[in-house]
Subunit: 276 residues, 2 copies
Amino acid sequence: MILLDGQACDSPLLLDRGLAYGDGLFETIAVREGQPLAWSAHMARLARGCAALSLPAPQPAVLLDDAQRLLSAREHGVIKILLTRGSGGRGYRPPIAPQPRRVVSLHPWPAELDEGNGAPRQVWVCRQRLGHQPQLAGIKHLNRLEQVLASAEWPSADFFEGLMLDIEGKLIEGIRSNVFVVQGKTLLTPEVSRCGIAGIVREAVLDCASAHGFVARVEPMTLAQIGARDEMFLCNSVMGLRVVGEIAHDDGVIRLENHGAAEAIAAGLRVAKVIP
Amino acid sequence: MILLDGQACDSPLLLDRGLAYGDGLFETIAVREGQPLAWSAHMARLARGCAALSLPAPQPAVLLDDAQRLLSAREHGVIKILLTRGSGGRGYRPPIAPQPRRVVSLHPWPAELDEGNGAPRQVWVCRQRLGHQPQLAGIKHLNRLEQVLASAEWPSADFFEGLMLDIEGKLIEGIRSNVFVVQGKTLLTPEVSRCGIAGIVREAVLDCASAHGFVARVEPMTLAQIGARDEMFLCNSVMGLRVVGEIAHDDGVIRLENHGAAEAIAAGLRVAKVIP
């Protein structure tokens, strides 16, 4: 017998390894007019995550069928796919032949993303740092306490996002987004090889940079390298690209310019149906 | 509507933050003759974890009542308590007034622990490393992918446990246990301030060391410091103390002596009903 909040409960989810250990992966996919965007890219990342965790990868067609059952033709929303190693094993030790569980859910479009008409956003620098864990970096696994604790810092509704540094003080990403800095014709984004998530839109921006006349570079970055003449933008599958106007940090504020790089790149990615 | 393995499912667990992000804590408590061992120490660690995650701490009396409903008078087993931040919030961002969920379950006594009659055990050194995350170190939270991946390495049934190093190569703990090295009259155990779990039995061993004539020191440690004249033991709430006979690593095997320190300390902790 298992007690859930004091009541007997026989849900197999109570013994799921996703709940017990965060032993699984997820994807968050924007939906426009009933169509999940960048579906193949999300499936490819999920497959990479499965390989990293030695999980049998689900058939994308099965997941697409699940998603389509939830979607009406003109739906704007967000599909979340959560995949766990299922139940079983001995303590931490995974079962030899895991039976993964999948959860596919539809969530309303986050209306607050449509506020502000694309005006540059204010971000803060989180006190919570990202630890280094090369074996788990890049993939979208279910161990997300660092992001939860960073989000709990949210200073006020004026802030759109928090920037996360690693334990060495390097800038890595936003809590729920990747980050790019535009310096002249160079597009810089931090490495995500020791921590951070390799976002679908981050990858798409890197891929299309040269078509927009930029040289893209993936390299370590600190806040001190970011100057007032630079442009910064955040990106993820649901927010698309968002220009940052101000970075609030312990010692003051960095105000940034907007040279239109994000707008130009976003327009291209919208046409390609990568972002909403 | 949410689909679980393709079937509509309305379990609130599907939206639980424990499943989504590992946003919660757990305790694993040995039960002998119907009595949970070291109950207050487990409750104290759970409360420390709640403070670290800004979770409202549950009443120990409520958890004890749950546990007692599952236990018969002569039960030998393991009680697991899992506490999550419940549902809600906006993405990673926790709800302002979380409604935690608690899951209390009884598991059979792991019979393999009674095999081998206390003979020294063989351990291997895991390839999977522990990342540094000071804000989460020490507490028993639900982000356990490092332990899952380390456990998946288990080389053969001959091995009792894997030793985990941090990303700097320092020895930190076993996958599911803490580790002590006995050098003469000194009892050494690694720090768990950047990674690792502060085990209930680890704490109890440190507390009683001087009563057994040992000087206890908590300090960074590498495998190279461990010599063939040393004794090593592992400990956790369910296994109690286990002497290590051999450490298998990439370059060979370290064979260890047994000077009886673990046996003496374990005898004391058994009388004090800290370990089974």
